[in-house]
Structures are given as C-alpha cells and as structure tokens.
Chain length 346, copies 4
C-alpha cells in the first residue's frame, strides 16, 4: 500500500548559502536508498523533491545534512487508518452495537465505578434514557498520587453484572500493558485514556488482542499524531479502533480543556474510522455537557460519551462534570431530535 | 454597581516563610484603602481575605509585597457586561434585524469587497438563501505588507448600495481609530477584528459612537480578557456589543485556528450580550464551514457569519475558506431545521 | 531582491482523488501569472512545484482550487528584514547608544511613569548601575478599563528631563497612530507593545517617521509573523527596527508568559536586526528577573530591558515584576561578567 | 507533614445566585470531614474558606455542589518534593557523580544506541571533552510505528561496556513497567521520557526500585503536574528524583518545542530536587544546542543533557538535533567559563 517510486514524498529545501556539494550529498543519499531526486535550482534557494518510497525517505534525518534548511513531508505518515487506503466509513460492532457509517451511539455511565449500587443506579438510568453502551472505570489515572485510583478487578466484575442486568455492553479504561488481558477478558470496548495516547507499548499490546479499542486523543496531540497512534494498533492486526475527541490543552482556563469540535469533520476527511466526542472531560463543567453533546451530533460524530452520576457531589472522581440521570434523559430527547435532522441511526 | 464593603474580592496567600511583619504590611495597606482583612493563620501558610471595593483592591500589586506568594482575584474584573449586572439576555437591533434572546441571524457575504460586481453577486445569493445581514470588508489587516489591503471608502459605498438593493444591513471592519467616524457613517454594525480586540484606543472610540459593535475574540484572548474588552466599549456609553467567537491559537495545525465552541455556553453563562460564531475564519477550510456552522446553532449562539464567494479561487483574501452560493443555500436549509429544534427565531 | 523566475516558491499538493482537470487548472493559473509549474505525478498524489515570483504566487488562494489538498510556501514571506537580504548584523544607534553587532545595551527604568520623583529616583539608580537607556511609559494599554492608563504627554516631558539630567536616551511606548508624532518628538526609541504587534496601521505610521522602533513580539505571534511585522515598518522606509522577545502565551500558569529564549538564536539566524529580551514582562515575578536576564546575555541577545522601581508595592502598573535598584545593581555585575565571557561590548 | 487543622486549604466561591441552603450544604460537608468553614458573606457573592487537612478537602468535588461557582486550591497538591518540606537543595549521587546543590553535570551521548561502534565513538569523545555521564537509549518511543524502536537489551549491554571503558555512569530510558527491572539492572540513572511523565503505573514502579530517576517534563505538562509526577515516585520510597526540562508544546513551529527556561528558577523555588535541561530535544535543531545549553548554566540548572553523534546525517533517531564531537568540545569550554561565573562545581 505504500506509494512506490514516483511519489514526491518529501521536499528538501536547501539553505540560501548551501553549496553545490551539499545538494550533491542529498541527491546521492537519495540514490543510495533507491529514490530519485528532482532538483529545482532557484535564484535564492534550491529545492529537492524526493521521489520514492515514503517510509524510507521520511526516516532519514534530512535536516541533519549540511546545507539543508528544512524537510517538508508531502505524504501523510500513516496509511492503514487513512481514507486514501479505505474510502468507505468503517462500521465497528461493540458487543452488538454498531458505530460508524451513520450509526450513532450514546455511551453513558459514571466516570469511575465506586460501588455496585452506584454503578447500577447510573446504569439503570442511562439504559432507560436510551444509552446503548455503559461506561465506568475500574482503573483511574490520577494527577495526584493521593487521589482514588479505582476498584480494579472488582469494578470490572460489577460492570459485567450490569451488562447482564441491562443488556448493555461496556467500555472501560486500561492503564498498564500488564492489565490488557484482564480488561479484555471483561470489557466489550477497551479505552485508552488521553494520557496514554502515546504510550506505544500499551498501544501495541492492544493491537494484539481481539476487543475493539476506544482511543482518546491526547490532550496535547495533533490530529496527525492521534492517527499515528491509531495506526500503531491497526498495524498489529486489530482493525477495530474508534477515535474519541476529548478536548485539547490551550491557554483558556474557563474550561478544563478546549473541545476541538473541528477535529470531527477533519478526522472524517482523513480517516475511515468512527469518531465520538466526550463532552464531559473536555468542558469539565456540568452545564457544558448538554450544549457540547449537541455539537457532537451535528458535527458528524458517530456517538458521544458522558459521565452520569446520581449524586455528583459525592463522586470520587470528576464530580464537577457529571450530569444527573434526569439531565441525561432530557439531553437524549434533544439528541434524538438533532440526530433525526442529521439522518443518523440512533 | 461595584460590590461595596463586605465582598471578599481577593485572596492573598502568604509564603510559608512570610514573617508577621509581612502579614501586617498587607493588612495595613488594606486598611489604608478602606478595605478589611480577614486573616487565617495556618500551620503552613497564612491566607488573607481582602474585603472591600473590588476595583480598588484588585489594582494594587499584592504580589510585589514582601512575603506574598500570590493573589487570587475572587470577583470578576468586568461588571456591566456581566450577567450578574443584567440577568436577562440583551437583544440588539442591527439595522432592523434583532440579535440575541432567541433571535438568531445569519450574516454572510465576501470576506473582502473586491469590486461592485463581486459584492453584488454574493449579496444577491446570500439574500436569496436567507441571510439577514451582509458582510464585506473595505479595510483588511494583512499579516504580510505585500497583500491586498482593501478598497477603503469605495468599498463602503458599494456595501451601502447593496444594502439599498437587497434591503440588508451590513457589517464592516474598522482597523484604525481615525476611521471610526467614516465606517460608522456607512455601516450598520462595526466589526473589531481578532487582532484589534486589545486595541484599547480603538475600543474606546467605538464606545463613543452610536452604531452597534461586533467584537471578535482575539485569537489568543481568554474569555475573561474578551469580556474585559467588551467592558471597554460598554463603559464609554455604547451598550450594543455583540461578541463573535472565531477560533483561538493552539498547537493544532490541521485547522487555521481551533474553534472554541465551548466559549458559546460559557459566555452565555457569564454575560447577557449576544454571541455569534465565525466558522470561516476559525476553520480556514471550505469543507469545515457547514459542520462548524451547525455546531453554532445548537451550542446556543445567536447567529453566525460566513464568507461566501462566487469564485473562491479568484478571491483576493481568504479564498480557501469561502463557500459557494449553492453551498450556502444548502447550509441554510440545515440551519433552519436545527434552529427549529432549538426553538430559535430565524 | 525578490526571487525571480526559477525559484520554487510554493509546493501545491493535490488530493489523492484530484482529477487531471484539477491539475490543469493549477498549471494554467500559474501560467497566467507568468510562473512555471513542475508537475510530479505520483502513484498516490500529484505535487506541483510553482516556480516564479514569490509574492505573486503566495498571494493566490491555492487551497481554494478544486482538488488541492494544501499549499506549502517554500520561501520566507518577508525579505528586507531577512539575513538573506542583508547578511551582516545591523547596528542601530539609539540616541548615541549602539545596539547589535556585538554591542550590548541594558535598558531599565519604571514600567510606567507615575511622577517626576518616581522616575528620577529610578533613572538615577539605573544610570549609576550601568544602564545605557532609560525606559518609562506615558501611555499604558491595560486589560481592564478601570486601571491606570498613564500620564500621557506629561510623562514624556519628565522622561525628557531625565534624559537631560542623566545623559540617557529613553524608550517609550506608543499605542495609537494619532500619537506617533507626539511620542516621536520626545522619545529616542519608540516601542510597539505586544498587543500592537499586528496593529498594521500603527506599524505603517512608524515606518514613516525617523526614530528607531523597538518592536515587541506579540505574545501569541510566531517568529515568522513577528518578522513580517518588522517588514511592515522596514518597507515604509524606517530601517531601524529592534526586536524584543517578551514571552509567549502557553498553557503554563506559573509564569505570566513563557519566555521563548530559543527565539533569540532563531531570529539571529533568520534576520540581521538586533534583538533584545524583556525578562520582566515575560516572567511576571521579581525573582525571575535576574535568572532570565542572564539567559538573555548568553543566548546571543543584543540587550535587555527590565522594570526597576524603588517601591514596587506602590507601583501603579506591574509592581510584581519590578526589581529594586539594589537588585538591579547586583544584576548588572553578573551581566558584565557573563558579557565578558561572551565577548560583548557593554 | 500534612498541614493539620488551621490551614485554609481551599477557597470555595459561591455563585451570585446561590441560596443560603447551598452555603449550608458546603459548610455541613466540611464539618463531616472534620474541616472548618470560614464564611464571608458579600454583597455580590459569598466565599467559603475551607480550613483543615489539605488532601481530604482537595479530593472532594466542590464544583459539583449546587451554587458553587469555583473552588480555588490554596496549598500546593504535592508535599515531599516541595521546598517547604525540605528547605535545602537535595544532592543526588549518580554512579559517583553528584548532582544538585552547586554540583553541575554534563550528560552527553547519542540519542539512541545504534551499534557498539557508534556508541563508543560518541562516548570516547564526550568523555574526553568533560561529560560526566553518558546518555544512550535502548528503547525508543516513536510517533510513527514504522520508525526504529531501539536495540533493547543489546543496547544496555553496550552501554555497560562503555561505562567500564570510560568510567562514566549512564542514563537510559524505560518505556514499559515490565522493563523496569531490566533497565534498573544495567543503568545508573533511569529516564522517564516526556510522553510517559503521566504514566502513573510506570512512575509507581520506579518508586519501588533503587536507582535514581531522571523525570522529563511532559511537553504538555504544567510545572505543578510535573512536581506531582515526581511526588508519585518519591512517595513510593525512591527519593532520588532529578527533573529535566525539555521544552513544552506551544503554537511556535520554528522550534520542535519551546524550551521553558523560566521553569528552572521556578522549580528551584518550589522544590529541593535537582533540575537539568535538555537543549537537544527542546530546540530540535543543531544550531540551537549551544545557545540553549548556555542558558541552562546561567538559569540555575544543575546540569544538562545533549545528543552527540559523529555522523548525524546517518543517525537513526533525531539526527537533526545532534551535535558533532568537536562542537560538543567547544561547547564544554563555554560551559566551564560560565559555570565559573556562576560558582558551580563542574
């Protein structure tokens, strides 16, 4: 699938004061790796187009060559997750719930599983309101070592019981490559959190197990880096990757993070994978959950995921952004009306 | 309107190694300005709550006092534009078109006025499709001094002629305080561009003339700074300020700027002023205009503003983000359907 | 000086699904403007190199053309301020004090002129400690409309008196294009503040008056945008522009802004203009002034500018970042020792 | 060490429209956890100071309580790594080389170990020039799954052989908690890379093994989050943590990341741990390495770490930022001269 000879994969811009020998070195190195050079000599600067296998060319440290000002990659660094590779939308089945290609799914539940009762209260409410997939975490990454870290396997057991009781598949986060088998043995969809998007050993492990993966965007990752992370999982053999936009870090402090809603149509253009939005963790405030969820529906996302808690002021994790069961139910009414305008199957 | 004695306006946190004299200095300075101090002596650090007139207290350089670690403002720095001051939504009339309080308006037209024909072609198309206000600039701020800078007064004349022809009020940008009277003599709504949001002399001039002002968010301004900028205009006597979210600068390069759609509900909570969204300048790509406009409708905005050009590849400014008249017409159909779900008057 | 025919000024990357007609349109448009196209047809994507006059090519909205994925500029958008145009360091005389090309100058004084006494106290101290240029502002841009806005012309008069008294030229800020003549009639060096770096009407005015200009970097401007702003002044005829790095806006909140010290060597590579550093406004805390000033000396800057106040806790503007006269004197001892290692003339 | 009763740990700001019952709920919840409330009723807003154990108070989701506008933490969230806990500089011994408290160390070597020869060539050169610790990685986290991932254990063996040959301890990165024992069995100092700063399971493992840890700042982490990450390691029992500033992600693209040199004096004020700077990975360009290294020496850092490669244009990882052995040798001469001015022991 890699573009073969003939694709201009990299543009190498020489410095204005580069000498002929500098250009020759670049051209020779390209020849050594089986690539061709197109040299355009200008009055100010010389530009070399490198034509050949993208991966081979992009690996070389062109900016370390004498006389090179910068090297500009032309082709995208990922391939399998690219829409160029697979033009149609991918539809992914999560425990019987389809996502992508016009299938829109609501994922809801508590941020963290705190107890069987707390989980079941939330699960019953979100199921009744129309959520198709349950969320709830058993392992939590916490900025402070003094915060609650999750119920671990006990939490996964409660989630499995809730799946039986309400007929909803569930998604849960994995933090450690050593826990991948454990989480995969329980969950229908395994989540990679924002802090682990570039945890490449974890991504590779997830590429070698059978459950679909929900890959959150690193809050400081570009869209290109995010798609590269998806490629890590995909190339190991697991093609069922769902992306989740959850806000990026900016200078604005009125919100926890800045939801990059534009990422939804941008990713839809670049990739065939489904993408959902997490309005709870991006905004960080309860009042923002409904408006941001509505934007997800109309921006072209394939679903959304929200925190629901029956008593947010007692929540052990992220209470400030959890909405109440009644608020979730009212939100689902709006979601259904907007999804109908957008011709989505809910 | 300023909170009088009794409001804890500032929290002054002393350093762990501050001595008693340091705390005394702070307390004495507060007494000198007629404020009270509430001193809470901890085992690690002492905290002083400053109670009194917000503006007087927040002006003093507390972090310059010996022994002070930091000073945390408690009350917001703006007042007239705050919802605390004016709880109901403000509705602003723009040449007969109401905006705010459930009234939603589409603003459309070319980024820059290039010629009478170009303007009239766009104006006719957007009017037919349902836009209520025409956009088009006669003065353009350009990053490069070698770019097209606008038709100046000639452009304003064409805009006035289009207003007559199609019965649409228009919005145009002003760049220089010396041009305020000129632009105000033609336009129905005067725009402050993103680069001028903190041009305080320009803001003050606009506060002293009668036309409503469309204040774009600085692409690097926090929401608090933006509301402070609106306060500059408001306090000079012009209470007709409409805010416009247009994307902020982040590390993401796939889009021109990152549309901060969360700013819409955040501003709605903080201020009574109308707020609209500019999906063209935030995304910077034609394909993003429709999805981002849809998010504006459902996020709670009072309108949106888009660039429309009949031949974007010939546009002198920002052609990459202009949509075609037909695309605008199709977008308006979606906007109407979504506005109906949101109970907005279009 | 503009690169003529023969320079590959822009790389136009076509979409993978672009059709032949799309490429033809691009090639024809290039021909119309007198440029040549080098077309490289790949297996995945076609790439068009546009060869010809940079300014003509870079003005066209290539991303608005059907089938174009993106357009990547190869040559820099500025020319006169570029080191390619003028390879040697420019040395600028500020009221008798040389800056640039190995000449290093300390600029110090109060942030704002508050009174004649306050100014003279600071001026005497910084002069004695070795500062060569006095700073002090008569016009202040303030985020809040309720803050002190400066003494205006009275402040400029005090600065002129201090110049006579201590034999130091001075720098002062101008905010409004209408005040350029006034400030130019008093000051030896006119400062453009961070919020006005992209105030193009102000820049153009400054390009048409005879005093040298100190151009602060916009706290949200890229280095390229900053050099473009300098180009605005330069191309109007004023070639005496000094750049000032003063911190950029990032997500970090421990400092007021993040001093981008790397900008010093980067700018030195790109431009022949002198560059100085403002450690006071970037850090925002008194304790950071000395370490950041030291970094300026060794990073290759041509000077620095710091706020000095005899009683920071009474300062009307930015007291938290002002250092005391004694602290400035101790700092100058360190600066001299480091400048000696760096072979700078102080 | 935790501040007991009496410290005002959190300021809870109520909304202007909060009712008495809302304030009562907050006060009651504080009483339940053994904390006291200081209530300040203003004309606009009520402010509650929460006095008691910091960790207990800061864990509760105050912003989820009805009527709460925001909760502002007063005390820092970390304790053991804080200078309040341990006022003197910590000196850490790395295989016989002291770092911190005036002891300054140069760390140098190739980014990645590519072969025994490549490593030994670099090691010999940096040893001769005065580096005290060797760098070289056997495991590499790569953004693209198609890039070179490291020699793994073979690389660690070569590093151990170089240690014997040149008498230099070495630092190497660990990526996966499963590799901690392996890396710890070879390396003198274990590095946590920027992408793993918030990999809390990895941090906890490193807290339970005996080798000192070099903790790079996440390129998107605030200083407070970074110190929290150090606290994770420290509280597990490993008190030998060295911090490494390596640049943060900003909007500027002229450099790979923006070196936050201010972080050095800020961290020195907040923490007793040693801190070094990595000028290679922050700047990303060879020409920036020398100036940025010089800033590290004078900003107060306890050392620096640079990539050195005898043939950067052949490097498998990050060649563009590697300097040549001769350049490193010249840089060390400058470092020695500046360290002498700063009274550092090299």
């Amino acid at each position: 699938m890699s573009p073969a000879k003939g694709d201009e994969s990299m543009i190498i811009v020489m410095k204005p004061d580069a000498v002929t020998g500098d250009v020759d070195n670049v051209v020779e190195r390209l020849a050594e790796i089986g690539a061709e050079a197109h040299v355009s000599v200008g009055q100010v600067q010389t530009v070399v187009g490198a034509i050949g296998d993208r991966e081979t060319i992009q690996q070389l440290p062109w900016e370390a060559f004498a006389g090179v000002e910068r090297a500009v990659p032309v082709l995208k660094p990922y391939k399998f997750v690219s829409r160029d590779f697979h033009p149609d939308d991918t539809v992914i089945d999560v425990g019987g719930v389809p996502m992508g290609g016009g299938h829109f799914a609501a994922i809801a539940g508590p941020c963290a599983v705190e107890s069987r009762d707390q989980l079941f209260t939330a699960a019953e409410a979100v199921h009744k309101a129309g959520a198709k997939i349950l969320r709830g975490d058993a392992f939590k990454p916490r900025t402070s070592p003094y915060s609650f870290q999750g119920l671990e396997e006990e939490g996964l057991q409660y989630l499995s019981e809730a799946r039986e009781e309400f007929g909803m598949p569930f998604v849960a986060e994995v933090l450690d490559p050593r826990d991948v088998d454990l989480v995969a043995s329980y969950a229908d969809l395994i989540r990679v959190g924002t802090r682990n998007m570039a945890n490449f050993t974890l991504l590779s492990e997830l590429g070698r197990q059978p459950k679909p993966v929900l890959l959150k965007r690193g809050f400081t990752a570009t869209i290109e880096e995010w798609l590269n992370a998806a490629e890590y999982i995909y190339k190991e053999g697991n093609h069922r990757v769902i992306l989740c936009e959850r806000g990026i870090r900016t200078f604005e402090t009125a919100t926890r993070n800045t939801l990059d809603i534009s990422a939804v149509p941008v990713v839809k253009g670049l990739s065939h994978l489904p993408i959902i939005v997490d309005p709870s963790h991006s905004g960080g405030h309860r009042e923002l959950v409904a408006p941001l969820t509505r934007t997800a529906v109309v921006a072209g996302a394939d679903g959304f995921m929200v925190d629901v808690h029956h008593a947010p002021e007692t929540a052990l994790v992220d209470g400030a952004q959890a909405i109440l069961p009644d608020e979730f139910s009212a939100l689902m009414d709006q979601v259904r009306a907007l999804a109908s305008v957008m011709n989505l199957q809910l």
